[in-house]
């Protein structure tokens, strides 16, 4: 008999769990069960109820409430990503094909194809991990916290940040968070339209979310930088809150392993009634019956204590594995850690906030700031001492076994006795239907013509372009003292940066190591309205360009995907989702950038004031992380002086579909920007080589508003003007319009400032062939802060004072919030 087995027999045998008579799973029909389950916010479908029923019929007993809740949590969309892993029948026009597993065939396939040896852990752990130098690794994770933030913006955003920090903390043997990065999608805060009863006004949502992100990040001493905001009124009932964290861990702490006999130790906050049903709740369409218990308030100071204690224990190798207590609470944390061996838990040993909690409540509670560790029995004392020194509670609540079962008892009463295999592999796969109709090619039409200068003024003051200073200034982006390139740049520290560059010397303790990293995002739901495939391409393209602009290495970029979609039960929405996922796959293959982690949030749909469904536009956030080989070579986006050459990298096409310019003119149709990854990647690599040789003074990517907006931003941030000759732009020869050249949002373009003496050295980095990325001198910077554009016919078509543009750019957000 093995020692572990001997120990098992020493304890009293686990009694069979007592049934929950009120459910009657064995006797009721599947439909009745579903209705009953929906009342309890279980979100199990009829087929899933049937599987549960069949399972317990073979066991010849009624399931307990805790068992049903455990199954519902484990099988929820939130935990198992059912849509992304179920078979899908996709009809495209007349063709129909079957996708066996969307995730495996798109995102994971692209990563496998990239074969990057520096990807240390992908899609397995709580976060993706890439190598960072020889000794270190970076863990990166971004996820959403949309539903809670819609109900209680401050608490929802706070716990979103807290959750993703714990993800990184529970990645490998624990990573030290070195950067928070947050992206939001809101309705405009000055929204004046009607809202249904009980819905929070977008302005309140925005203030609350920003305050929550600010307070949690600032209190934990983690810099918050490099985020973004997108405004669209279709987000008014379902705001999107993406929280991301980068953590640094020693390369040798990436692998973790649970051994049977290890103790299950819960560390951090106490367990209370808060946050019940978070995972199942987030897998349902929002209605007015949302449970108040799903919303929580974060406790940043408690999490900071857990963080400090955990990292100290990690460095002393006091535990073998760790994970965070997120959605599903102990049930999913213990279930995950013990998935390959088995676990036995005694609920009476869990430290509680209130004494009157029922067994299933303790087991499922999503109380924040808790971590679960696998601790060898000999290290328990030392571990508890480390945590106690931080004023942080720990309790051994059971042990990992080798019998492949999940067993939970409460005061010698059986609560859960489930087979790990059934729990993790027993989920029935339903075939889903999806539809995709390619949009017919549409010529741009409608709208009124405007003067070019007028379009630029409106574009620069647009909600999706304007200054985010009001938000950024609330965040502490300087703490840990490694923010080399800050979110606001330029001579007055108020220009819009492409990405931030972090030099994590405070975490590595090595001042000689000048390597840093950069994080950037790409998001544009406007393109997705026309074609989600090209939206995905454009998002990857934009994220990589942003990284390259600040000096990060585009050939070492790792990606995260975050899909936020309306209900996938609608075949059209699911078709669009498939299309976006395929865009991700092709972009990742084309740019040779692997996905390392990701998340999806579906059912972002609510009933509006008249009871009609209001879905969000299908939204994809691509977050990219890449190392900056030497932070001293990092580049900002502001013009550095007069008389410098301006080069435009990338080709301009007539791609105004979904563009800001079209929206301002009230025009519809047109071509959505189509990225060409191979050519762009070559251009980005060349530009990166030039940046590492210090041949580039500033670089800025062209996104919303195209060349005109990018040039204006670079100009007013550096307080120098520019003259740009549109005839010099590398372009589709069929373009005859100045407006198209100025405002087209073609992908893959970057405006670069180069000192005259370095021009030939700069150009030597770029290839010459027909397939090489085009780069051409399009103008120069001037001392007078005026943006002057020379049109195709050689006449001056625009002359705008940059100071006025900047004022308009800065005025918008405060005015919307006033």
């Amino acid at each position: 008999m093995s020692p572990a087995a001997a120990k098992e027999t020493a304890r009293p045998a686990v009694p069979a769990p007592a049934a929950a008579p009120e459910l009657g799973v064995l006797t009721r029909s599947v439909r009745e069960l579903r209705a009953l389950g929906d009342e309890r916010h279980l979100s199990l479908s009829e087929a899933e109820w049937a599987a549960v029923q069949a399972r317990f019929k073979t066991l010849k007993r009624e399931p307990t409430l805790a068992e049903i809740e455990t199954i519902a949590q484990t099988w929820s969309e939130h935990c198992k990503h059912k849509t992304f892993t179920s078979p899908i029948r996709l009809s495209e026009g007349r063709r129909t094909r079957t996708i066996k597993n969307l995730f495996q065939e798109t995102i994971a396939a692209a990563t496998a194809a990239a074969k990057k040896p520096w990807c240390l852990s992908v899609f397995e752990d709580n976060a993706g991990v890439v190598a960072f130098g020889r000794k270190w690794a970076l863990a990166f994770k971004a996820e959403t916290h949309n539903h809670p933030s819609a109900l209680e913006p401050y608490g929802g955003a706070e716990t979103g940040v807290g959750g993703v920090i714990r993800d990184v903390l529970g990645c490998g043997l624990g990573a030290k968070p070195v950067l928070n990065t947050d992206v939001f999608c809101f309705a405009r805060p000055d929204y004046r339209g009607p809202l249904p009863e009980g819905a929070l006004h977008p302005s309140r949502t925005m203030r609350g979310v920003v305050a929550g992100v600010r307070d949690y990040g600032n209190r934990m001493g983690i810099p918050t930088a490099g985020g973004g905001i997108w405004f669209d009124d279709d987000y008014r009932l379902n705001p999107l809150v993406f929280c991301g964290t980068v953590g640094l861990l020693p390369a040798k702490a990436v692998k973790k392993e649970v051994k049977p006999g290890d103790l299950i130790v819960v560390a951090g906050g106490r367990t209370g009634r808060d946050g019940l049903h978070g995972a199942t709740f987030s897998s349902a369409v929002l209605g007015d019956d949302a449970p108040g218990s799903a919303v929580q308030i974060g406790h940043a100071i408690a999490e900071k204590r857990v963080l400090d204690a955990l990292l100290r224990a990690r460095d002393r190798s006091l535990y073998r594995s760790v994970t965070d207590c997120g959605a599903g609470g102990l049930s999913s944390a213990v279930g995950e850690l013990g998935a390959d061996c088995g676990a036995r838990v005694r609920l009476e040993d869990v430290p509680l906030k209130a004494a009157d909690l029922e067994s299933w409540e303790i087991w499922l509670s999503e109380s924040q700031e808790r971590m679960v560790l696998a601790v060898p029995p000999k290290d328990l004392k030392a571990l508890q001492a480390v945590f106690a020194a931080e004023g942080c509670e720990t309790a051994a609540i059971g042990e990992f076994t080798r019998d492949g079962r999940l067993r939970v008892v409460h005061h010698d009463e059986g609560v859960v006795d489930l087979d790990m295999k059934f729990l993790h592999k027993g989920l029935p796969r339903e075939v889903r239907r999806a539809e995709w109709t390619p949009p017919p090619p549409q010529k741009a039409s409608g709208g009124a013509a405007k003067r070019l200068g007028e379009i630029l003024r409106e574009a620069i003051a647009d909600a999706n372009v304007c200054s985010r200073e009001w938000v950024i200034r609330q965040y502490d982006h300087e703490v840990q003292a490694g923010t080399v390139i800050k979110p606001l740049q330029g001579v007055r520290h108020d220009g819009p940066g492409d990405a931030c560059v972090i030099w994590p010397h405070a975490a590595t303790g090595d001042l000689e190591d000048r390597a840093g990293f950069s994080v950037a995002h790409g998001l544009n739901p406007e393109y997705g309205r026309l074609d989600p495939y090209w939206m995905a391409m454009a998002c990857v393209d934009e994220a990589l360009r942003n990284l390259t602009c600040v000096g990060a290495d585009p050939s070492r970029a790792a990606l995260l995907d975050n899909f936020c979609w309306p209900s996938p039960d609608d075949p059209k929405q699911l078709g669009a989702l498939v299309r976006a996922a395929e865009g991700c796959r092709d972009a990742a293959k084309g740019f040779r950038a692997p996905f390392i982690s990701g998340k999806d949030s579906l059912y972002n749909e609510s009933k509006d004031e008249k009871g009609r469904p209001l879905p969000i536009p299908g939204t994809l956030l691509i977050s990219a992380l890449a190392p900056v080989p030497d932070v001293r070579r990092a580049v900002t986006m502001d013009f550095k002086g007069p008389g410098n050459a301006l080069y435009l990298l990338g080709r301009t096409n007539d791609e105004l579909g979904g563009s800001l310019c079209h929206r301002l003119l009230g025009r519809t149709g047109g071509e959505v920007p189509k990225a060409s990854p191979a050519v762009t990647l070559e251009g980005l690599r060349s530009l990166h080589a030039a940046i590492t040789k210090s041949l580039v003074l500033s670089a800025h990517d062209l996104s919303e508003g195209g060349l005109a907006v990018a040039a204006a931003e670079m100009g007013f941030s550096g307080e120098f003007g520019a003259v740009i000759d549109l005839d010099e732009i590398p372009r589709d020869p069929r373009i005859y319009s100045n407006e198209t050249l100025l405002f087209s949002e073609s992908a893959g373009r970057i405006l670069v400032e180069v000192a005259p003496e370095n021009e030939s050295a700069f150009l030597r980095h770029f290839g010459k062939g027909a397939k090489a990325a085009p780069v051409r001198r399009v103008g120069q910077t001037t001392a007078n802060p005026i943006l002057k554009i020379v049109g195709l016919d050689g006449s001056t078509v625009m002359e705008e004072p940059l100071r006025e543009l900047k004022e308009a750019w800065q005025r918008t957000l405060p005015a919307m919030l006033a």
Partner: protein, 167 residues
């Protein structure tokens, strides 16, 4: 019979407010938001914090905690609030208390509870922390309740009490 006198469990309410001579930024923000929700006659809002301390702790000990822990003696003052109807002046003053619901976690309250114990005082059973808004301006209870619900409190996690109050 035990000779040890057991301190009975009691509830104390302590309010910490900014001294009137200091500008109240939180109050100004609340004023702007309440005005935007239709309370245009509002003239001023002052914000203070209210701590409900429950446990085997005496009034003197609570006052010590209020003075030494909860209150910044330069800018703030503390006072004991007596439960029950406050004296009315019949006109322009309103008091809004926003409490976290009992099921909702209260991190400031938890921190205060631990900190009181660290001062060497008896550890309270629970501490809850509320925000108090003192409103100056003519209005009616119904109108204030509606505005508070939209601007200051989220009914999902907060309960609030609006009362006519002495300034």
């Amino acid at each position: 019979m035990s000779a040890v006198r057991v301190q009975p469990v009691s509830t104390h309410l302590i309010e910490i407010r900014l001294r009137p001579e200091f500008a109240d930024a939180e109050g100004a923000e609340a004023l702007a938001r309440l005005r935007a929700e239709g309370l245009s006659a509002l003239k001023d809002v002052r914000v203070s914090r209210l701590y409900e301390i429950k446990g085997a702790i005496t009034a003197t000990q609570v006052q010590q905690a209020a003075r030494e822990l909860l209150c910044d003696a330069v800018t703030q003052e503390s006072r004991v609030v007596n439960p029950g109807t406050p004296p009315l002046n019949g006109m322009n003053f309103w008091r809004v208390e926003v409490w976290p619901k009992p099921t909702v976690a209260d991190p400031p309250g938890e921190t205060v509870r631990d900190a009181i114990a660290e001062m060497g005082l008896p550890r309270p059973d629970s501490v809850r922390c509320a925000l108090v808004y003192r409103l100056l301006g003519r209005s009616s209870r119904a109108v204030i309740e509606k505005a508070v619900e939209k601007a200051l409190a989220n009914p999902l996690i907060h309960r609030f009490v609006v009362s006519e109050a002495h300034p």
